[in-house]
Amino acid sequence: MDKTTTTKSKMKIKVGLLKSSFPVVSSIFVAVAAVFIAAARKEDPAPAKKNNSVCAELAKAPKKAAARRNPMENDPDAAAAGGKLFELHCAECHGDMAEGGRKAPSLLADPVQQATPGTLFWILTNGVIRRGMPVWSKLPEPQRWQIVTYLKSLGAQKTFRDAGKGPP
């Protein structure tokens, strides 16, 4: 076999490979584009609807889980450590001050603040997969309780401010 024939056959193999990989590569691009377009079209639900869905999710916590006590509630560092964890893992969706954002509801809202620590822990552990909240059971249990302690401390601060006793 001469050199020209070898080069031609190599080129044929390359063209064949390109042809065979084309459907796969193009389907990857189509899938990725579809994901991004879907993300772009997501719209904010109305605040009232958001509140209702939060209530509905909180109500799903089993009684036993809702009744769990927060083992960190008397830990003086828990709220501060929880605040650090909140900033790292939660603030992107729920807002820096937990005031809510485009993707996730406010955690200062009454239904959340009135929920038991056990309920919040249960939501944090299980996520709300259908609505885009991932499960956070990858954080060890003590860290999840630290976040719950932080969230509860935000409610106490809010009550203090609402009563007009807050610092200027």
């Binding site: 796969v24 990857i28 893992h89 885009g132």
Partner: protein, 306 residues
């Protein structure tokens, strides 16, 4: 409007689109990410990428080779959380075999689907992957069938002529118990080229953070930032000869260091458990998560709505 003016306005629109992309990219890079990554390199647990986040990873494997040249295989991984129940990932891989050559060895497209809405005692995730790789692929991302060390001794010039299209299915099972994560993966692979039989493999791992409680201050060396464990993986033969005979098996301690500056480093020295395995594999990886990547791309698309 003249043709030239139309072309100029198109160029200007393209340029402004590019500038906007650049601006958004810089803004995304500045957003703190949420590193809490598992230390496993081969085993998967049931945690998916957070929706809208992109994780960019680089991994490296150095392997010793009897009756051949040692090698360094590497791959880049782009992992995107499409939804809270679906993560999609693209791998591009290559390898250097010492005293031979450095070559590109193929790509993989992987998808993981969470099967249950809530956490259970055991949490299943379905894994589907398409691979288009050459016979010179050495990343050992998974070990299956009768993969043995001698397969990797074939010179690159010869091995790269073999092209494989493979479908890979995994059932990922994982749970958490008292701070420990226990994960088990069952692997089934079908090479679509030629009449190859179904091949099987497994991977399992256990890991735990060095500290379960978070400290108050941000710190690099706190115990909570380190996750250590061990993983074991290997082949289980194929459809006609299922079992451990003529398979390779590995045991590897693993450690991940999740830095508050959003980077994760992983290290894993692996040891072959039988004569069919590479004696030693040294793996390491570095990754960074970009949260809000999906939103950034979304804004880019939204900007061009009529």
């Amino acid at each position: 409007m003249t043709q030239r003016a139309i072309t100029q306005s198109r160029v200007s629109a393209d340029f402004s689109r590019f500038l906007r992309f650049l601006g958004l990219a810089v803004a995304t890079l500045a957003v703190p990410a949420r590193a809490q990554e598992s230390p496993y390199i081969v085993t998967y647990n049931h945690y998916l990428e957070e929706p809208g986040s992109l994780e960019v990873e680089y991994f490296s494997t150095f392997g010793t080779q009897r009756n051949g040249n040692d090698f360094h295989a590497f791959w880049a991984e782009f992992e995107y959380g499409a939804t809270a129940w679906w993560t999609t990932e693209l791998y591009v891989d290559g390898q250097t075999t010492f005293n031979e050559s450095t070559i590109f060895t193929g790509f993989r497209w992987e998808n993981r689907f969470r099967l249950l809405q809530r956490e259970h005692f055991v949490n299943p995730v379905l894994y589907l992957e398409y691979e288009q790789i050459s016979g010179a692929d050495k990343i050992l991302k998974e070990v299956e069938g009768h993969d043995v060390e001698s397969d990797y001794a074939i010179p690159n010039a010869l091995a790269r002529q073999e092209h494989n299209h493979e479908l890979e299915f995994k059932l990922l099972l994982s749970n958490n118990f008292k701070g420990w994560n226990i994960a088990e993966n069952t692997i089934a692979t079908k090479n679509l080229t030629g009449g190859n039989p179904w091949e099987f493999g497994y991977a399992m791992g256990a890991s735990r953070p060095l500290a379960l409680k978070a400290s108050v201050k941000r710190c690099n060396l706190c115990g909570e930032n380190f996750i250590a464990g061990v993983e074991m993986y290997g082949g289980l033969g194929d459809r006609y000869s299922f079992g451990l005979r003529d398979t390779s098996q590995y045991l590897a301690p693993v450690i991940a260091w999740n830095l508050p500056s959003d980077w994760t480093l992983r290290l894993s020295p692996g040891f072959g458990l039988n004569d069919n395995s590479h004696r030693f594999l040294l793996r390491w990886g570095i990754s960074r998560e970009f949260s809000g990547f999906g939103e950034m791309m979304g804004r880019l698309f939204e900007g061009h709505k009529p």
